[in-house]
């Protein structure tokens, strides 16, 4: 395809009313201002071409409102580094997915060949030790990060209404992450991973009534059989990652939809009077609009509801 895809100026997306048109940031908009300055014609052409390509894509996907809402959403005052733990966990997962794909190129999920293939990819493949090390230690990092993220959510009270469902999804993600750890542990198929998995499957079997059948399902038989390792491999690289990706999508959707909470040390002003005057005044136009964020930027759990309560009681 040609680099420059002509889009008539009439089809370009105009900047939204009230939005500060700051040029490069908003897709397709703001071509009019700033370009009046004299610049090199080559630079202008390239700029124009890039804008055209982005505009072409945006017109066909309608992505810019979505991306703006996703990336430029408002966050409460007091948002700090603790709020990055969720993203950190997700990037740890992305690293596991990436390194896992490459490890799968060399790994052989068979009880007789698995150990040799791990040996080969660790010692003979270029950078094999590094990629396997990333995957191995990344698993530990991901578990640590997911627990830190959970602790942040708990201690900041971010699991409360209306975010309970996101907590539930997060707990399922935690369990799935631990399942990844369990199933991945068997794959090197050395003494440690073999016996650790034997113990794990016997713990599964010790659950009453269903346990013995679950253990048989995991092992594909009453003993560790030829299909046990491929079973764990399939769960490890296909089933659980798919579930994790889907649930991360739901988790992020709810984060964007509901917004984040302010840290607990930021509370509504203890003196209600000046606050009420501020809200009732000129700020009332955008005051009540949803998501628990109040108009004056003093956002967070229940700030809006507290304001309403104050108004009712007066």
């Amino acid at each position: 395809m040609a680099l420059k895809l002509p889009v008539p100026a009439a089809l370009r997306k105009p900047s939204k009313p009230g939005e500060r048109s700051n040029g490069a940031g908003t897709n397709g908009a703001g071509t009019g201002d700033g370009n009046g300055k004299a610049g090199s014609p080559v630079v202008d052409t390239v700029k124009e071409g890039a804008i055209d390509v982005v505009g072409w894509l945006d017109e066909r996907t309608g992505a810019s409102p979505f991306l703006t809402g996703l990336l430029l959403r408002k966050v409460p005052k007091g948002t700090n580094w603790f709020y990055t733990l969720g993203s950190a966990t997700m990037f740890a997962f992305a690293m596991q997915a990436l390194t896992g794909v490459f490890l799968a190129m060399y790994y052989v999920p068979s009880a007789t060949d698995a150990y040799d293939s791990i040996n080969y990819l660790t010692n003979d493949v270029f950078l094999g030790e590094f990629v396997r090390g990333l995957h191995k230690w990344g698993a530990t990092v991901m578990v640590i990060l997911i627990f830190l993220h959970m602790g942040r959510t708990f201690f900041f009270g971010a699991y409360k209404y209306p975010r309970e469902l996101n907590w539930v999804i997060g707990v399922v993600l935690l369990i799935l992450t631990l399942v990844m750890g369990l199933t991945g542990y068997l794959l090197p198929f050395d003494q440690r991973s073999y016996w650790a998995t034997i113990v794990a499957m016997n713990i599964t079997g010790s659950g009453p009534v269903m346990g013995p059948y679950l253990a048989d399902f995991l092992r594909a038989g009453s003993e560790f059989t030829a299909t046990t390792l491929p079973r764990f491999y399939a769960v490890h690289m296909l089933l659980v990652p798919g579930l994790i990706i889907a649930l991360i999508g739901a988790h992020l959707y709810l984060v964007v939809k509901l917004g984040t909470t302010a840290p607990p040390w930021l509370r509504a002003d203890p003196k209600p009077k000046p606050l009420r005057e501020e809200v009732v005044g000129p700020a009332s136009g955008n005051g009540i609009s949803g998501n628990g964020r109040s108009g004056n930027g003093r956002s967070g759990n229940g700030a809006t509801r507290a304001d309403e309560h104050d108004r009712e009681s007066s």
């Binding site: 009880a111 016996w195 253990a215 399902f217 038989g221 560790f224 030829a226 299909t227």
Partner: protein, 219 residues
């Protein structure tokens, strides 16, 4: 969907009646076709989904064929101590399909038939680690969590929930052969093989039900 359609459409004089409408109909044609398409979708997906699930859980119902393996002359096994033998219990998985068995002849001092052979599994009844027989103590000892079993394989210490499993034995000619695994109750009554960590005997036979993947115990 369940409410009568004429309640929606019939009482609204401005709205034109849909094609095929008749007085007193309980379902519009659109609803019928909508349900039909959904039913077709369910019909199309169900056999595929059921087949896939059945494919994944089929091994639960699969009874493996009995494997008997010779471990040498029956005369070589004493009645007052154990001798080790290595047998294959799962084919096709290399060394991980092999296990050590402790074998001895029935002891008259323990009220056992001297023509019978006892084959003790090394799979600890706690969580499945490999136990070893310590001759000086006459006990089986598990390295993982400190389970201790006496000469007959009964628990005398640590976390194991039942005696050590056994394997069926038979003598063909003069050759001693080791067969399928079975578990025992605390009184050494044979039952179908259970996984480690599962109690045997009494109500536990129902809480940890026998599975089709295991062989019938010796009678």
């Amino acid at each position: 969907m369940a409410e009568p359609a004429d309640k929606k459409r019939g009482t609204n004089p401005e709205k034109p009646k849909p094609a095929g409408y008749f007085e007193g109909e309980s379902m519009t044609r659109r609803t019928v076709f909508g349900l039909g398409v959904q039913a077709a979708g369910v019909l199309a997906v169900t056999p595929i989904a059921l087949a896939s699930v059945g494919f994944a859980i089929a091994p639960i119902f699969d009874t493996p064929e009995e494997m008997w393996e010779g471990v040498g002359s029956a005369d070589d096994y004493p009645s007052d101590s154990y001798r080790q033998a290595v047998i294959t219990i799962v084919n096709g998985v290399g060394d991980s399909g092999k296990t050590t068995v402790y074998l001895r002849r029935g002891s008259e001092t323990l009220d056992e038939d001297p023509n019978e052979f006892i084959a003790i599994s090394t799979r600890c009844a706690h969580l499945g680690c490999p136990v070893r027989f310590v001759k000086a103590a006459g006990n089986f000892i598990c390295p993982c969590h400190g389970g201790v079993y006496d000469f007959e394989g009964k628990v005398i210490g640590g976390p194991p929930v039942r005696p050590l499993d056994r394997f069926q034995t038979r003598v063909v000619g003069n050759q001693l052969e080791v067969g399928p695994r079975y578990s025992v109750t605390n009184d050494l009554e044979p039952v179908r093989a259970r996984d480690p960590g599962e109690f045997t005997g009494g109500i536990w036979e129902y809480l940890y039900p026998p599975r089709p993947t295991t062989a019938a115990p010796p009678s």
